[in-house]
């Protein structure tokens, strides 16, 4: 094992430019992946924030009695999905409309806006199906005239999230495949540069695993270095964006570590494919 480490180190020092090039290429592949991951993380975060604001508004029929409204409110508040229910009177609705419209506030006169119940949902209970089911139950109350919850907006939001997840996955797999090919090629160059050593090793009776070990170590090290460099680049990018454009959230430490390990796996996979192919030929 000691010899394998030494040989891997010699390989690094003997072709520093090639080694630097392969580390940089892996770093840039993973950096591109990291940037996309960062976008995905932040889209997800933004979606979570928007989801927090999803609320159901049930408009109350004009002829509904106070008792029946209060009964409905109590029943709604008792539902497990519901965090709280607030009553918005006609007067409050008008005031809110005036506040929202600012300089055009004087177009409203008289209480022509209906009273309503604002139903806030519990966090974590906001997926589309649950919201729809709840809306149907709210609609069933006789005091309720109509229910709005921005369904088009909610639908679009979920579609954006699904699209982001699928695109992220496809790009992630594509970048990982490219990285495997790149590291495979650089290790292949290293294998060819050392084909004489390999042939001598085989002549004197080295096992395939023994021959493979330095290359696997080299690929692993390159992958880890590339992954770490990509992590630094991604962090710098997120800092720059946070400072000059909008506040972004960086990866959780465990996720960042997973990214570096991803680099290591790519390095191992690329080198193992490359050496395996060479060994089968000699």
């Amino acid at each position: 094992m000691r010899l394998a480490f030494r040989e891997a180190l010699i390989a690094f020092s003997r072709a520093p430019l090639l080694s630097a090039l392969s580390v940089t290429t892996i770093a840039f592949s993973l950096f591109a992946l990291g940037l996309f991951g960062l976008v995905a993380v932040n889209i997800r975060r933004a979606l979570e924030r928007v989801e927090q604001r999803v609320e159901v508004r049930a408009f109350i029929a004009d002829d509904a009695s106070i008792d029946s409204v209060s009964g409905a409110m109590q029943a709604l508040a008792a539902m497990p999905e519901v965090a709280r229910v607030d009553y918005v009177s006609k007067d409050q609705a008008l005031q809110r409309a005036r506040r929202d419209l600012g300089e055009f506030s004087d177009v409203f006169e008289g209480e022509f806006l209906p009273a309503s119940m604002e139903i806030r949902l519990r966090p974590g209970l906001k997926d589309q199906a649950q919201v729809k089911a709840l809306v149907e139950r709210v609609r069933a109350y006789s005091v309720v005239d109509d229910v709005r919850y921005g369904e088009e907006w909610v639908d679009k939001l979920y579609r954006v999230r699904d699209l982001a997840a699928i695109t992220g996955l496809i790009l992630g797999v594509a970048f990982a495949a490219v990285s495997v090919i790149i590291i495979g090629s650089t290790i292949r160059m290293a294998v060819l540069a050392r084909s004489r050593e390999i042939s001598i090793m085989r002549l004197v009776g080295a096992t395939d695993n023994f021959i493979r070990a330095p290359f696997l170590i080299e690929g692993f090290a390159k992958g880890v270095l590339g992954g770490a460099l990509a992590l630094v680049l991604t962090w710098v990018a997120s800092q720059v964006v946070s400072r000059y454009l909008l506040e972004t959230q960086f990866f959780e430490p465990s996720f960042a570590a997973l990214g570096v390990m991803g680099g290591a796996v790519i390095g191992l996979l690329g080198s193992s494919l490359s050496v395996g192919r060479h060994l089968r030929r000699v």
Partner: protein, 229 residues
């Protein structure tokens, strides 16, 4: 010890390299393989160190048979053999000592034992004073001595030498041949492919001539035949 039984080796592109060769090499024997270029000498030697497998027939080297050979068995077999080539195959970026030590490290020799073993091997091939030299700083004969020292790290029971003197001048050639004789005298069998008829004539070792993939002459059989008359 080494036995070829009806061995045929065919290559997809170049056709038959060896045709129905049957041959036995006894323990500690010195055998010359001679014949024109492309006759099949190198193929025969490759079959001995299992770089190639026969298309038909069987090659047995020590207890290893080509018929039941796994990839990992090749490494085990090579640890009992020494192999030398015309082009030396040394690592130019390391000195003589490191070239031999590398081979010892590869086969997992204990680290503490390596310096003394390398020293003994260099002394055996007459290069004790050149341990720190790079291969390029040595003459062809000296480079081949380093290659032979490396081939001896496994204390082989057979040394396979494919045209070991092909790149050497007359004086160096004689030196290498003398070294191979000494190695043989110490009990290691030597299989040597060569074009050099002068070398063959100067010694009374067994000579096997190969032409177009077939054994066309074997001095051992001739001796046996003459003895039987």
């Amino acid at each position: 010890m080494i036995r070829f039984t009806n061995v045929t080796k065919e290559y997809p592109r170049t056709g038959t390299a060896l045709a129905n060769v049957t041959l036995h090499v006894a323990k500690g024997e010195f055998v010359f393989f001679t014949g024109p270029s492309g006759a099949g000498k190198s193929t025969l030697l490759k079959l001995v160190y299992m770089e190639e497998r026969p298309t038909h027939g069987e090659v047995r080297v020590g207890g290893t048979s080509s018929k039941s050979l796994a990839r990992s068995d090749v490494a085990k077999l090579r640890r009992k053999l020494g192999i030398v080539f015309q082009d030396f195959r040394l690592l130019d970026d390391r000195d003589v000592y490191a070239n031999i030590a590398f081979a010892l490290e590869v086969i997992g020799a204990p680290r503490g034992a390596i310096p003394s073993k390398v020293g003994r091997l260099l002394e055996r091939v007459g290069l004790a004073s050149k341990a720190a030299a790079r291969p390029r700083e040595l003459s062809g004969g000296e480079q081949q001595r380093v290659a032979i020292a490396r081939a001896l790290v496994n204390d082989p029971f057979v040394l396979v030498a494919d045209e070991p003197t092909g790149n050497l001048d007359d004086r160096a050639m004689r030196g290498i041949f003398q070294l191979l004789r000494e190695i043989n005298a110490a009990g290691t069998a030597v299989l040597m492919a060569t074009h050099n008829l002068d070398l063959i004539r100067r010694s009374d070792y067994r000579t096997v001539e190969i032409n177009r993939g077939q054994v066309v002459y074997d001095s051992k059989e001739m001796v046996a035949a003459v003895g039987g008359l």
